[in-house]
């Protein structure tokens, strides 16, 4: 009456194989032709061999409308589970475009959401691999509510575990809120698309004709909208870079990031740095030249490199410790902070604070950007995000004032009293509220106007103001700069600062959260 073991296992293998073949040979071929790997291939490459445990492979939707009860949807179009990446546990949900175009239905969403809840509870990072044709409309309201499950799960996990979104295929419609609400988006150059609506819907609703690439591709999000953190070439590059980022991150907010010893001497000096940047404050240079000379092995993992290029952000190591770097870029928009730059910095600072990553801030900035365009876009509201982020952050924060640090930008880039634990300045630094020309034109306006030789008087007053205030020493006399150091010594001093701040603890009185200008 009962099946024997041969029959039991044969049945099991057949059922399993049916699910694991995903959408079938033809659909898998089409996926490859599109230059993409399948969900299962991505998982196989991402996790250490033999460590992946699938969760919910057998899940089936319960929809009967429109013939759905007759339809096979292996694994509900999303492969979910956990495994080890370079030895560390990571949870994943990988959408399977070969199965009903990876459409998002009720149980597809449930699998996604429950894996995020699982990752949150276990304190391991979550990686979502997006490749979906959108909402599974056959399921109606059940699909819509499942979006809410997903969003609720990821938002409640935000700040507890790192969440990384990989745009390896399309992710359009309401579903696109999923990647954007994770911590970082990686987007494949040729196959990754994200948008609140695709071209067809845009055309019928607002009459705009635009291609999917232009509307939702890498240029749209890595350059214009500032939503894609890292552009990657293809699936393999995407997964390699994701592993690279994960190396910098702790598994959850209760841990420190892993410390990976490097061979780079923490006390190493860079003699050439003493004359690396032009002493004339109006001559630009590339800040990357400075960053790579300071960090371990010159290795800097930059994010958002093509958006708001007037500031540079990214991860590096200092004596093996993960650090978050925020640096002005004098080469772009004079290193002044505009609305986009402020948004870019603020969210990064908060990410680092959430995950116990010390911040190193490099100042060479004249100001927040002024003028009608930025004013009306809300530079005050956007600029405020940086002030909130830095002052609220309790991780170690160390600042280096390299050259210019003026006015609001001095405060916004993290000075002594907007949160820096330790501030260093270079002898060429100019720390003051305003440039000498502007100051002289205000303070001595009348004297200059009424002078017999206005030009001479003006120049003398500018020189006087510059001598008095445009230097690092006034700030150091007040204790706003802890030490004036030679540029060559920067790495050494930063490492010593990070050492003493290793166990920094700062406890604030209870509040729900600050009312940051969102």
């Amino acid at each position: 009456m009962y099946k024997n073991y041969d029959e039991i296992y044969a049945e099991y293998e057949a059922k399993k194989a049916k699910i694991e073949q995903m959408g079938g040979t033809k659909a898998v071929e089409a996926q490859k032709k599109a230059g993409k790997w399948t969900a299962r291939e991505r998982i196989a490459y991402f996790f250490d061999p033999g460590t992946f445990v699938e969760v919910g492979k057998w899940i089936k939707n319960r929809t009967t409308a429109f013939g759905m009860d007759q339809r096979e949807v292996p694994a509900e179009g999303v492969v979910v589970g956990f495994g080890r990446v370079e030895g560390r546990l990571v949870a994943v949900a990988a959408e399977d475009y070969t199965t009903m175009a990876g459409t998002f239905g009720e149980y597809h969403g449930k699998k996604f959401a429950e894996m995020i809840d699982f990752a949150k509870l276990k304190g391991i990072p979550f990686v979502g691999m997006n490749d979906s044709g959108g909402a599974r409309l056959q399921e109606g309201m059940d699909t819509l509510e499942a979006y809410a499950w997903l969003f609720r799960s990821q938002i409640l996990a935000s700040g507890i575990i790192p969440q990384i979104a990989l745009l390896m295929g399309p992710c359009l419609g309401g579903q696109a809120y999923h990647p954007i609400m994770q911590d970082f988006i990686f987007q494949c150059r040729k196959t990754g698309f994200m948008g609140i609506a695709g071209p067809a819907f845009v055309k019928t609703q607002v009459g705009e004709e635009i291609s999917l690439e232009t509307l939702c591709g890498v240029e749209a999000h890595a350059v214009r909208s500032g939503q894609t953190a890292v552009v990657v070439e293809d699936d393999q590059d995407c997964l390699d870079k994701t592993k690279e980022l994960l190396r910098f991150l702790p598994a959850n907010n209760r841990e420190k990031p892993p410390r990976i010893e490097t061979k780079d001497d923490p006390e190493r000096e860079n003699p050439e740095m003493d004359t690396l940047i032009p002493p004339e404050p109006f001559i630009p240079y590339d800040m990357h030249e400075v960053i790579t000379r300071i960090v371990d092995d010159g290795y800097f993992f930059e994010i958002f490199k093509d958006f708001a290029k007037n500031v540079i952000i990214g991860f590096a190591r200092m004596e093996g410790r993960t650090v978050g770097i925020v640096a002005s870029q004098p080469n772009w928009l004079a290193g002044a902070i505009d609305c986009d730059a402020a948004d870019k910095v603020a969210r990064f600072v908060r990410f680092c604070d959430l995950f116990n990553i010390p911040l190193l801030n490099f100042h060479d900035t004249p100001a927040y950007w002024i003028g009608s365009r930025e004013e009306w876009k809300g530079i005050l509201r956007h600029g405020a995000k940086m002030l909130y982020a830095y002052i609220d952050a309790t991780v170690p924060k160390v600042t280096v004032i390299m050259r210019k640090s003026f006015a609001g930008a001095y405060l916004g880039m993290c000075c002594k009293d907007t949160g820096a634990d330790i501030v260093f300045a270079w002898p060429v630094a100019r720390i003051t509220i305003v440039g000498a020309e502007t100051a002289a034109s205000v303070i001595f306006a009348r004297e200059i106007r009424e002078a017999a030789n206005p030009k001479e008087v003006e120049e003398a007053r500018i020189r006087e103001y510059r001598e008095l205030y445009e230097n690092p020493y006034r700030a150091a006399e007040r204790g706003y700069v802890d030490e004036v150091i030679r540029p060559r010594e920067t790495r050494k001093y930063l490492n010593r600062a990070l050492d003493v701040l290793e166990n920094k603890q700062e406890v604030r009185p209870w509040r729900k959260y600050s009312n940051i200008n969102l």
Binding site: P281, F282, I283, P284, P330, N331, W332, L333, A334, G335, A336, P366, A367, W369, G371, R373, K404, F406, G435
Partner: protein, 71 residues
């Protein structure tokens, strides 16, 4: 084919280093603009002959404005 030299940031043109008919090479410095206490070099995006110079010294220009046209 005409190539436009566009203004990379809002600012005042402080130097015009080309005139109509000049030959320029890619990455040659063609203008200097100043804003926010910084002087930024504007370079030719390609080799070419200067067909038209629109930027004038002392005049403010916005991001994306055409400063010169090369041919």
């Amino acid at each position: 084919m005409a190539v436009e030299v566009r203004c990379p940031m809002p600012g005042k043109v402080v130097s015009v280093l080309i005139k109509e008919g000049d030959q320029v090479k890619e990455n040659n410095k063609v203008f200097v603009i100043e804003a926010m206490k910084m002087q930024i070099d504007v370079v030719a995006p390609a080799d070419g002959t200067v067909k038209e110079v629109r930027a004038k010294e002392g005049v403010a220009m916005d991001t994306g404005a055409v400063m010169a046209v090369l041919e």
